[in-house]
Symmetry: D2
Subunit: 334 residues, 4 copies
């Protein structure tokens, strides 16, 4: 059995991850950490969670585990990751600390000097379907953000085939769990209920550079992403509706053919039939990504739905771990 | 024009109150206070609110107003009320500070010595329909809690007629705005959405003594209230479903007749037709209380719906002020 | 592998059941029927459902299966059950057709002559925890209604110990899936959202006689149930808050002791710790029943939460089938 | 007092309209019609509605009113409008019957021959802020669709100034009341709750030609609209997020300046401050349109929020009527 340690077990991602790992036939949760809740059971916070007594971050024995999952706030993951790697433990980091390859970009977007720039070079960006070759040997995986997971899975086949003329408009809508468990004014039930709010639109959200970095690895065209996240009055689920002008010669058949070819046989990415578009109901509480693909007036109109806590976070982390350890990719995810 | 000052303008109750007062033909809002938001406009917090620049609590000039509305946390209202009365200003207190007549009870339920026990004797408990005689001359009105407003309006006619044998079971369900605007874990959207949670059930909620005190003024029977509040996944609205064994001789006709007689002509209390019961849709965003009344197996089955922010707080405060100042009772409330 | 046939596969219960059965290691779904959707895949209706091609009711080959699950409207199940039993197939009926033992009661509450009164005598009322002895040999199981499942699991230990003095007030709140999938005015999103509505309160709901029949089998005391269902603005989940005056000598310790003793070791019923009460979050999407137990002023205050589609319908049906066929009781339910 | 007749009083739009008209100081509702509910009170359907006894469509006495509001399904309005005009009554049609100027377009998008093509020429497209000159003399006003109202108010200043290079991507999200009151599978609470679904995306929704027709009246540039409506799990409110590549020379200052100039002094259109974008909370239950305007990478990023039942339907109808009859534009709308 693979022994897994989870840092930051009490957030929505940590809870989702531990619930998934508890059902995984080849993994045992060795510990879950929490600063504020050490000594309590995870079940005190989530009535259906496993009865796992949380330990303080500093009491975690890294040498007793095979893999660390880091569900910590950005900038807090890096040092734990470094310690884990030094102890010979493989790391899946669900924070943003190792997503951007350049420490300058990190500093620009996160406002602090990167805490472990030496590790950036070896971090594998774990958008599983695009990283399958690198995962078996990876020591450090940067699990993608929820918005990038959704948008990039839709854009990957077209960027890679150089079908996109740019700019790319990503209109994304996320459930509230994506904003984290710490209570804030904007996640108060009364503020969210019956509302829909755009936030950090344009080029202001931290998931933007992550998307542009990935796209630039797939195509030489400067795509110029415009990204508008919206907060939905639902607890979970994320839908990106994407408008992307195409180069000449790319009609709906060709676009659909390309997407179909790239994702043929993928266990967790489903291209929907023509004229069907992706909704949250296609994916919620699963590790699936549902893709709808149309071409209208020379532009691709793509819809991409995921559960932000599963394929957008904890599920993809397990999927990556499965490939790192040689398990079936879907183990623990069905 | 009556000049009104509002302490605690930024909470859900304060906002609702200011919105109502802005539409009132005989009242002007002279100021609204906030500790944390002084200098900002109320519109920065509520995009549809009046553009009222909030002032710090300590800058409020009590002598410039005719009436003070206190939407402060309990124990903070009392001293402001005292200062207001000393300045000759009439006070409607929406906190709990003047609801319980006995300072011992206050201390027992709120955990601190009452800050202004000398004022308790003159405070009028402002359940409007039961307090109409006292309001015109009142200097200090204790606006009832939301749960007591709902439950007591249902029980008043029967308690007063000595129809109840006891015990009284009050199963109440409230929208989340009743829990206040300060973000807490239990008001996080993700915790509330798709959930329904009982809390402080039995005899543990602070609205219990307020209900028993009022009932004891209407009947000599010791009724023994059991009270179960539940948190609903809706932003506003409050429904109490009440089960109350009746004394002999009280069948449905007699019970309905009593309720109908007591509330005949009331502008804001509506007895629903036989077999119709009250829902949030009957009352939301209005100052109405809708009452459904059945008798089953010798027990009254009462449903009483209000909007917790209107009849359960700000609306009833305006209704009380109207009577204090000799205006039409419904002014500003339609 | 046990071969299972599902009649009425397209309702919320049928869909939930097929999803559970697809994950059951010892069961195969041989067919699912639908009048309106024959020829279509279940996935056309539910995007995450198994890709099961629905067949017309009349094309179902009863002789090819070992067990039939009937998710049909009441009065339609009985004849299919009779045909199944005649073909040697065991039947779990999720409709109301075999829940009431007396054909007169059925006619009174459902308005038609019972279609198969000869089968009533052998039908086992499948409230699993109270029927475990009868299930292994049962040919015909009447799966309980969702409201009775919730209320009866709470009341069973106390009724059986003759602790209840009566009357029993059951204030129940259900998610909208309990009202079925056929679109009606009162299940329109706009009617339900932000609302809470009592309906069929008192002694008017068809689940009342089912509850009283079960209680009368456990205690000689005539309890006189008053039952108030409410429609919640959530898709699933059911909470009953129950107020039940106790006989002398039953304090909280004794009541909790009785409940604990009855459910000790039960895999799907959990007595919560003192002062903790049951919420939908305790149980949703699981087959669990969470019970909160207090005693206040001489009355039991019980909270009982289930997922109406799982423990309240499809999950309990699988639980019953597991016992009928000698499988582990929790197979397919975790 | 202007006497108003309302056809189709029981839908969400009809109900909203009658509620507004009841508060209008210069209008009386002479009648409201309903086929299915004639003889009942509107309050039987909406517990807070005015107690208006509905009459059968055929019993409406057109000659007794000054203005007709038609809240009928498309193709049913036209003949009533014709009869009204023949009787000398002015008409505000909230259906789609007179929105498209060409009977061929109507036939293409609505699948039937236009019932009253002779009236198309005189119908005024009632997007109030763009039609103020034509309304005082108008006999027949085609009240715009909810999606076009939202999108066109955002695009009008830029189209008119020839700032748009095309294509225009309109990503719109609407509350469920936009889908009408008749219960359908896709408006069932359980289908909508916690979901977000795109539908009729691309160039398939009937509001598309309405938008393109209006745009073509403001600019000679063929803009090529791509339009993606989504169904939100909220009862009301509509937000359009619009991505529109700009011609050279249009930076954010110039774009904002143009929008500000066009809407200066408008009572119901508000340009939000820089970096603030429109949410449903800005507008719900009001006749306001809130506009957020940014320029990113050479494209305008516009957000436009309305309440679909108010500014998107009944409120705009009242606003239009006010101008038709010489009342203050905001009468009855605050």
């Amino acid at each position: 059995m693979v022994q897994a340690g989870v840092f930051g077990a009490t957030g929505y991602t940590g809870h989702e991850l531990i619930s998934l790992l508890e059902g995984h036939p080849h993994v045992e949760v060795a510990f879950g950490t929490s600063r504020a809740e050490a000594g309590h059971s995870l079940r005190d916070l989530y009535p259906q969670a496993p009865d796992l007594t949380l330990i303080h971050t500093q009491k975690a024995r890294l040498e007793h585990v095979d893999v660390l999952f880091l569900c910590l706030p950005h900038t807090q993951s890096a040092s734990v990751a470094a310690a884990g790697l030094a102890a010979g433990v493989r790391v899946v980091d669900l924070s943003a600390d190792f997503r951007l390859r350049s420490p300058q970009d990190f500093q620009k977007w996160y406002g602090v000097v990167h805490p472990a720039p030496d590790l950036l070079a070896e971090a594998v960006y774990g958008l599983t379907e695009t990283a399958r070759d690198s995962l078996p040997a990876a020591r450090l995986v940067a699990n993608p953000g929820c918005y990038p997971t959704s948008a990039l899975l839709a854009l990957y086949p077209l960027a890679r085939a150089d079908a996109l003329a740019g700019p790319v408009f990503i209109d994304a809508k996320s459930g509230v769990s994506g904003a984290g468990r710490a209570p804030k004014q904007h996640t108060h039930f009364v503020e969210v209920a019956d509302n829909l709010s755009p936030y950090s639109v344009g080029r202001r959200h931290r998931h933007l550079p992550e998307m542009e970095q990935a796209l630039s690895g797939w195509t030489d065209t400067q795509l110029g992403v415009v990204f508008s996240p919206h907060l939905l009055s639902v607890p979970r689920g994320l839908l990106s509706t994407i408008y992307a002008p195409l180069r000449g010669g790319w009609d709906e058949d060709r676009v659909r053919g390309e997407v179909a070819a790239v994702y043929e046989g993928e266990p967790f990415v489903e291209l929907l039939p023509p004229e069907e578009h992706a909704s949250l109901a296609h994916v919620n509480r699963s590790n699936r990504c549902a893709l709808g693909v149309s071409v209208v007036n020379g532009s691709a109109l793509l819809t991409s739905a995921i559960d932000n806590l599963v394929k957008g976070a904890a599920g993809q982390a397990v999927q990556n771990m499965n490939l790192m350890f040689g398990f079936d990719e879907g183990e623990g995810l069905r």
